[in-house]
C-alpha cells in the first residue's frame, strides 16, 4: 500500500513540476495559462492525497474555476496587435541570471535546509494501520467562527475591496460606450424629434420604454 501511495505522489509531483516548467517557458501565453491550469489540478490532487479534502475542492473551485478564467479573459482582452512575434522571455544575460538565481535558491538554500532540519514528527496515535483522527470541514467552519473570526471578517472586507477596486480600475467611461438603440427606441425618438410637443410613451411599449429628458431648445428649431 505504501508503494502505491509513493507512486501516486511521484506522478502528482511530476505533473506539478512539469506543468510549472512549461508555464514559464512556452512562447504562447495562452498555452502558458493552460499549463497553469494543469499545475493547479496537480496541486489540488496533492491536497487530496494529503487528506485536506475541503482545501482540494476549494483549490479547484477558486483557482481552476475562477482565477484561471480571469487570466484567460485578461489574455483575450490584451492580445498584441502585432501578433506573437514579440519574445516572451527577457533576453540574453538577464535570462541566465534569473535562472541561476532560481537554481541557486533551490539547491543551496531550500533543499539543504529541508533535509538537514530535524522535523519532530509526532508519533501516530495507535498501531500502524489505524486511521488518524483528522480535522475535517466541520472543524474548519468552527475555527472560522470562533478562533479566526477577525481574520475571516478581514478577508471578507479584503475581497469586497478587491471586487470594487477591480471594477473601478478596469471601468470604461460611459462616454466611450454608446448604447445601441433598439428599433422601437429609435422609432420613438424619431417621432419625438419630428413633433414639437412632448408626447406620452404609449402604454404598450415593450420593456425599455424611452422616457426621455424634457425636450430642450433643440426641438424648437425643428
Amino acid at each position: 500500500m505504501a508503494t502505491v501511495i509513493q507512486i501516486i505522489f511521484g506522478l502528482i509531483a511530476a505533473l506539478v513540476v512539469g506543468a510549472a516548467v512549461m508555464v514559464v517557458t512556452v512562447r504562447n501565453v495562452i498555452h502558458a495559462a493552460l499549463w497553469l491550469i494543469a499545475c493547479f489540478f496537480g496541486v489540488g490532487a496533492l491536497y487530496m492525497l494529503l487528506e485536506a479534502e475541503f482545501l482540494a475542492v476549494v483549490q479547484v473551485l477558486v483557482y481552476v474555476g475562477a482565477i484561471s478564467i480571469l487570466i484567460l479573459f485578461a489574455i483575450m482582452l490584451t492580445r498584441q496587435v502585432t501578433g506573437e512575434g514579440v519574445r516572451q522571455l527577457v533576453g540574453g544575460w538577464r535570462l541566465w541570471l534569473t535562472a541561476a538565481i532560481s537554481a541557486l535558491l533551490f539547491a543551496v538554500a531550500i533543499v539543504p535546509t529541508i533535509i538537514s532540519h530535524a522535523w519532530n514528527l509526532p508519533a501516530p496515535p495507535g498501531p500502524p494501520g489505524t486511521p488518524e483522527p483528522l480535522d475535517g470541514v466541520a472543524e474548519l467552519g468552527r475555527a472560522f467562527v470562533y478562533e479566526f473570526l477577525l481574520q475571516f471578517q478581514v478577508a471578507g472586507v479584503l475581497l469586497t475591496v478587491a471586487l470594487i477596486g477591480a471594477i473601478v480600475i478596469a471601468f470604461e467611461e460611459r462616454a466611450r460606450r454608446r448604447r445601441v438603440l433598439t428599433l422601437a427606441e429609435e422609432h420613438e425618438l424619431r417621432k419625438r424629434l419630428a413633433q414639437p410637443a412632448p408626447m406620452e410613451a404609449p402604454a404598450g411599449e415593450p420593456a425599455p420604454a424611452p422616457r426621455a429628458a424634457p425636450i430642450s431648445e433643440g426641438e424648437a428649431q425643428q
Partner: protein, 105 residues
C-alpha cells in the same frame, strides 16, 4: 500518507514550485505571464503549509485555515492585478513589461 512519503519530499516539491514561479515572475515579459509566476509561488507556499499541517499538527485545523486565507488573498490580488493589466493595455496598447517604462528614471 505520512508513513509512505517523507515530509522532506513534499517540501522539496513545494520549494521547486516556488523557484520555478520565481523564475517565471522575473523573466517573463508579458505582464500576465508575470502574474502567472506569482500564482505559482502562492501555490507553492500553500502546499508547504498543508504539508506542515498534515505531518506536524494534524489535530489543529490552523494549517488549513492559513492556506484558505492565502487562497482568498491570491484571488483578490489576481483580480486587481489583472484589472490593472487591462487598464495598462487600454492606455499603451501593449502588455510588454519592457515597454511600460514611463516611471523609469
Amino acid at each position: 500518507m505520512t508513513a509512505a512519503v517523507p515530509l522532506e519530499a513534499v517540501l522539496v516539491v513545494a520549494g521547486a514550485l516556488f523557484c520555478i514561479g520565481l523564475f517565471g515572475a522575473l523573466s517573463r515579459r508579458n505582464l500576465v505571464g508575470v502574474l502567472m509566476g506569482i500564482e505559482l509561488m502562492l501555490n507553492a507556499v500553500n502546499v508547504n503549509l498543508v504539508a506542515f499541517w498534515r505531518y506536524l499538527e494534524p489535530r489543529f485545523i490552523t494549517g488549513q485555515t492559513f492556506a484558505i486565507f492565502i487562497i482568498c488573498v491570491a484571488a483578490a490580488e489576481a483580480a486587481v492585478g489583472l484589472a490593472m493589466v487591462i487598464a495598462i493595455y487600454r492606455n499603451w496598447l501593449t502588455v510588454n513589461a519592457d515597454a511600460v517604462d514611463s516611471l523609469k528614471g
